[in-house]
């Protein structure tokens, strides 16, 4: 039995650490919140958390520490479903929060109506990032599929941002064919709509045939475009494009605004089961409400998200030019429908590549 003492020590150490780390404690004076968010909001929430903590302490005298978690929107939703105790989630797509509701049963089905504006306190759109001087003369969506143009966009299967890109392109072609969104709901135009949808599928497929790399996330795609100098145009979130411009150099890239694009609404929600267990509902709701306040909206704008408040949006008008947009609800019938048709296994996106391989 020569090894057993050291073994026992190892096991005891292991067990004690496993149990110790499992239990946390907190005193009444201070409270912690966990905000589980997606990648592009890192900078925004760093500032916003500070602002909220200061305001909360002034108001109630209670000290609050906000812990942040960032990763891809889908994998964050999965973590919450699997038990990551997020008090609030601030994700890229309503589809991901819907999944937390359906698969994890961690919040009420009416979550999207609990806060104003579809529970999306800020918005963004999809724009193009091109090389300085726009050497390939890219002005609008059709330029992406011109001979010799190569496009960088992340993988819609793994990146929330990439799904917005895809839907924006689809919506453009649909709108070009139909001219008017109202035709979508009119049964009299069924044949025309079907024709337009087929045309949109061809157009989006053509974009992916011009795509040499599918990165797994939006920032990965930005790095491929800027650092590796792959491609002539990057399809990106407006907030990501503005940040890339600032961080990676206005001498390298510039932004092109297409003629029409999608209105991306990144939603927020309180996770009911967590706040009720932890007793943090009040502060969690105040935290998300603060996003709609003047201070919150200003911070959103500073970090390149379009604020909802018209007067603050107007103040930052230089950053955010007005352009025609459409929403996922009016064109695609909501996220669940869009996901099932386009991104689920065997959906349109899969068809594009299976067809390409044969």
């Amino acid at each position: 039995m020569n090894l057993s003492p050291s073994l026992r020590t190892a096991f005891v150490t292991l067990l004690s650490i496993l149990t110790l780390a499992g239990c946390g404690s907190s005193d009444d004076k201070s409270v912690t919140l966990l905000n589980v968010s997606y990648d592009p909001t890192r900078e925004l929430y760093r500032d916003f958390n500070e602002d909220f903590a200061r305001q909360w302490q002034q108001q109630t005298g209670q000290r609050v520490t906000i812990k942040q978690s960032h990763s891809g929107s889908g994998s964050q939703a999965r973590a919450v479903i699997d038990g990551l105790d997020a008090d609030v989630v601030t994700l890229a797509l309503a589809y991901d929060i819907n999944s937390i509701q359906e698969k994890g049963k961690r919040l009420g089905a009416n979550w999207q109506t609990r806060f104003p504006n579809n529970s999306a306190p800020y918005t963004s759109t999809i724009v193009f990032l091109v090389r300085k001087g726009n050497p390939k003369q890219i002005r609008d969506w059709p330029d992406l599929v011109r001979e010799g143009v190569s496009v960088v966009t992340p993988n819609p299967k793994t990146s929330g941002g990439a799904r917005w890109n895809y839907l924006a392109a689809w919506g453009y072609e649909l709108h070009r064919q139909l001219g008017d969104w109202s035709k979508l709901d009119d049964p009299a135009n069924a044949a025309q709509v079907e024709e337009a949808q087929a045309s949109a599928e061809r157009f989006v497929g053509e974009i992916y045939r011009h795509t040499p790399v599918l990165d797994s996330g939006a920032r990965g795609a930005t790095n491929t475009f800027v650092q590796r100098e792959i491609g002539d145009v990057l399809i990106a979130w407006e907030n990501e494009a503005l940040l890339a411009l600032k961080e990676l150099g206005p001498d390298k890239v510039e932004i092109v605004i297409p003629s029409i694009t999608i209105l991306a609404e990144p939603p927020v929600a309180v996770v009911d089961t967590v706040v009720d267990r932890r007793g943090t509902r009040q502060i969690a709701e105040a935290y998300l409400q603060h996003l709609y306040s003047d201070a919150g909206q200003e911070l959103a704008a500073k970090h390149y998200f379009r604020p909802r408040k018209p007067e603050i949006l107007a103040k930052y008008g230089e950053l955010f030019p007005t352009l025609p947009t459409f929403t996922i609800d009016e064109v695609f019938g909501g996220w669940s429908a869009a996901h099932a048709k386009h991104f689920a296994d065997g959906g349109v996106f899969d068809r594009i590549y299976q067809a390409g391989a044969q």
């Binding site: 090894l3 993988n155 793994t158 391989a357």
Partner: protein
Amino acid sequence: MSSFRQPSILPGFGLTLGFSVFFLCALVLIPLAALVMKTATMGWDDFLNVLFDPRVLASFRLSFGASLLAATLNGIFGFVIAWTLVRYDFPGRKLIDALIDMPFALPTAVSGIALTAVFAENGWIGEHLAPFGIKVAYTWIGVVVALTLIGLPFVVRSIQPALVEVQRDLEDAAETLGAGRFTIFRRIILPTVTPALLTGFTMAFARGVGEYGSVIFIAGNLPMKTEIAPLLIVIKLEQFDYVGAAAIGFLMLVISFVMLLSINLLQTWGRRRHVAAGR
């Protein structure tokens, strides 16, 4: 116990085997059972659909093919490097020796990013390959390059101790008896190093099949072309399809298990033959 194992006067069999098996079960087998159980919740039809999905097949071809190629490259160059480090003295040998483990210590994402930076068309090496029409980054070659880097320490570190312990006097004896260089290599060095070389090859191969972090940066990730099997698992997970993800993971596991087992059986058989011949 006696029918289960051959008698030996050495102590500690029960203790060491018992502990190993217990630890193996607790840490590896029970968690993997969760994977198998998850896969089992899916019907046969669904499972066969996953198995014969052209995208899954294409990704398996890439993952297993590139890993095999990378492990072979590592087998050859790893041997050369281990030999050089053990047998020759030259300036910087010790530093290079210490750097061999770096592919393990560097987070895979960093290796992937750095390799892409080097091999992209605007990178140090990529720009010299581009004029010859050779594209490494964002093609299957990039996958092989990344997997070769990831697997390198396995092979070198397996062979090194074996080479060190190769009985030098045996070599000397052979030499004084007039055996040629090639004969020494074939008759003495190769047999001693082969088990370690096979171990290194196997581990490099196995690791390559599952590798994700470094490959996604350099592969391009185009479905049917440069999409590796672990990426498909991630894709399934992104759709909250745990069962589909588990099924692909399970399939990879079974294939890897069979390949590993074959190599291990081959080794055991080879060793028995070797021992028998020696006696």
